[in-house]
C-alpha cells in the first residue's frame, strides 16, 4: 500500500532490462538491417512500457507479502522433485493463464469474452513486439517469386506460398486478433454499462477507458487494413497516426492501470504452489473451532508479514490472534463483546 514514490532498486532493474531490450533489438534485427524505421515510435513505446512494467513489478515484488510469496514459490519450485513441480507449473499455466478457468464459474459468458480479449491481445503482442523489434521479418525466397520466408532473429523459421490460405491467415493475423478483442470488449463494456453493481464500483479511467482503448486500437487497426485493401489507402496516414497514438497510450499505460494484471497473473500459480506445498507440511487447527482451516506455513508467514507491515496481533501469552480461523475470530469477538456487556452490569440491551 505504502509504496515509496522512488525506488532505487526497481529503477536499476528497470533500466537494465530496458538497456538489454535495446541491445537485443540491435542484434535481433541484425544490426538494424531488418528494422522497419516506420515502427520506431512503436519501438520507443514498447521499450518505455518494458521499463515501466519492470519498474512496477520490482516495486511490487519488494512488498513484504509479495516477496514472501515470490520467495516461497520459487524455493518450492526448485527443491525436491523438480520434474513434478515443473509438470504442476505447466498444468497450472495452461489452466490459469491460457484457459483462465477460474473465470468460468463466475459466468460462462464472461469467460468467453475474457478469453477472446486475452487471446486477441496475446496473439497481437506475439506478432507486433517481435515485428517492432525487427526480430521477425518476411522476405521472398531467394529463387522464387511466389514463396515467402519468415525469419526470426535473422534465422529462417518457415516459408509459405503467396496467396495460399496460410499466407492469408498469417498476413491477416492482427485482424483476427482485433475481431476477438472487439467482441470481448464490447461484451464487457455492455456489462459495465448495465450492471448496477459494477456501475456503483467502477471508475472511468480504471475500468471503462481500458475497454474503450482496446476497441479503439482494434478498430483503427482494422481500418488500416480496409483502407489499403478496399479504399485505395483512403485516410491511411491519418488512421496510422491514430492507431499509433492508441497503441502507444496502451503500452505506456500497462504498468499503471488495469492491464498490469496481465503481468501479475502468473502470481496466482505461485499462490497455488504455496498452498500445495503448505498442505504437505501440515494444516493449522483453529483453537476455537478445533478444525483445520489453512496451512500452518501460511499462518506462520502471515505472522511475519504482518509484523513487517507494522501489525502485531500477538497476545501476552505468546499466542496470536492470527492462530484463529475466520470463524474463530468472529466467535471470539462475540464472546468478548458478551463478556464486556455482562461485566458492566449485565444489561445486554439499551
Amino acid at each position: 500500500m505504502k509504496n515509496k514514490t522512488f525506488n532505487t532498486k526497481a529503477l536499476l532493474v528497470a533500466t537494465l532490462v530496458s538497456a538489454l531490450t535495446i541491445v537485443l533489438v540491435f542484434y535481433g534485427s541484425r544490426q538494424l538491417q531488418n528494422f522497419d524505421a516506420a515502427l520506431v515510435t512503436y519501438l520507443f513505446g514498447t521499450v518505455f512500457a518494458f521499463f515501466g512494467i519492470v519498474y512496477r513489478y520490482s516495486v511490487w515484488l519488494q512488498r513484504p507479502p509479495t516477496w514472501m510469496y515470490f520467495k516461497r514459490s520459487l524455493k518450492f519450485l526448485f527443491t525436491g522433485k523438480i520434474f513434478a513441480h515443473m509438470w504442476f507449473l505447466g498444468k497450472e499455466s495452461v489452466e490459469n493463464i491460457v484457459v483462465q478457468k477460474f473465470i468460468y464459474p463466475r459466468s460462462k459468458y464472461r469467460w468467453v469474452a475474457h478469453f477472446c480479449i486475452a487471446l486477441g491481445c496475446m496473439s497481437a503482442f506475439a506478432i507486433t513486439i517481435p515485428l517492432t523489434f525487427g526480430w521477425i521479418h518476411f522476405t521472398l525466397a531467394p529463387d522464387s517469386i511466389s514463396i515467402y520466408e519468415a525469419h526470426f532473429f535473422g534465422f529462417k523459421m518457415m516459408d509459405f506460398k503467396i496467396g495460399s490460405f496460410l499466407a492469408f491467415l498469417i498476413f491477416h493475423a492482427l485482424n483476427w486478433s482485433s475481431w476477438l478483442v472487439i467482441f470481448g470488449s464490447i461484451y464487457y463494456l455492455r456489462r459495465r454499462l448495465t450492471n448496477p453493481g459494477l456501475i456503483a464500483t467502477q471508475s472511468f479511467e480504471g475500468d471503462l477507458l481500458p475497454l474503450i482503448l482496446l476497441i479503439a486500437i482494434s478498430v483503427t487497426g482494422l481500418c488500416l487494413t480496409y483502407s489499403y485493401q478496399f479504399m485505395k489507402g483512403f485516410a491511411y496516414d491519418f488512421l496510422a497516426v491514430i492507431h499509433a497514438v492508441t497503441v502507444i497510450m496502451f503500452l505506456i499505460w500497462i504498468p499503471f492501470g488495469k492491464f498490469f494484471h496481465i503481468i501479475q497473473r502468473p502470481a496466482q500459480i505461485g499462490a497455488h504452489i504455496y498452498k500445495k506445498e503448505g498442505m504437505k507440511k501440515g494444516m493449522a487447527v483453529c483453537p476455537h473451532t478445533g478444525e483445520e482451516f489453512a496451512t500452518q506455513l501460511h499462518i506462520n508467514d502471515l505472522k511475519i508479514v504482518t509484523k513487517q507491515l507494522g501489525f502485531d496481533f500477538t497476545h501476552e501469552d505468546g499466542t496470536s490472534h492470527l492462530d484463529l480461523s475466520p470463524e474463530g475470530k468472529r466467535s471470539r469477538l462475540a464472546q468478548a463483546h458478551l463478556r464486556a456487556r455482562l461485566e458492566s452490569g449485565g444489561s445486554l440491551f439499551g
Binding site: 473465470i103 450492471n195 453493481g197 456501475i199 456503483a200 502470481a267 489453512a294 463483546h337 440491551f349
Partner: protein
Amino acid sequence: MNLTNFNRNEEFFVDLQRCIGCKACEMACAECETNGQESLISVNYVERSSTIQTTVQVCMHCEDPVCANVCPADAISQDEFGIVHTANTERCIGCSNCVMACPFGVPKKMEEYDLMMKCTMCYDRTSVGKKPMCATVCPSGALFYGTRAEIEEMRPNSTPINTFIFGQETVHTKVNIMMPKGSNELRIY
C-alpha cells in the same frame, strides 16, 4: 463511481448480542448488486454445543486495513469515504492472505472463482443514499445503519465504539460496535 449521494452522516452500528441467528442478512446480502448472489456477511454459532449464541460480522472497514496491506496483488483498495472495497477481480490471485490476516474474520475466499470477495457496505446502495441490504432487513437491530443521533435516541445506555484491541494491535474502524455506556474500546482475548 457514484460518489455524489454517499450519505456521510449515516454510519453502521453493530450489536452482536441482539443477533438471533436468523440469517436474513445473509440472504439479503446476496441480493446486493455488487455480490452476484454470494453472501459476504457471516452469521455463525459461537459455540453451538453449549449456547444458541450467534454472531454476525460485516466488514468493519478498518482505517488502516490489514487485508489491503497483506494483499500481495494490490487488489484491495480504500476510497475517500473509508470504504474498503472487495478484491479487484483482475488482480486478486486468490492467495487468502487477507482472509487469514483480517482480525475480524471478514473476507471470504470463493474457491470456485479463485477470488476473494468481501463486504463493501453495499456500495451499490450506500453510494446512492440507500441503506445496506443487511442492515435494512435485520429484524433484531443487531445491524443498524443510520445517524448517530438516531442510535443515541434508540439505545441511550450504549455507546458506539470503533477501537478494538487484538493482542498488541489496536485497530480503528469505520463501523461501530455498540458497547455498555462509557466504553472506549473492546479487547478481544
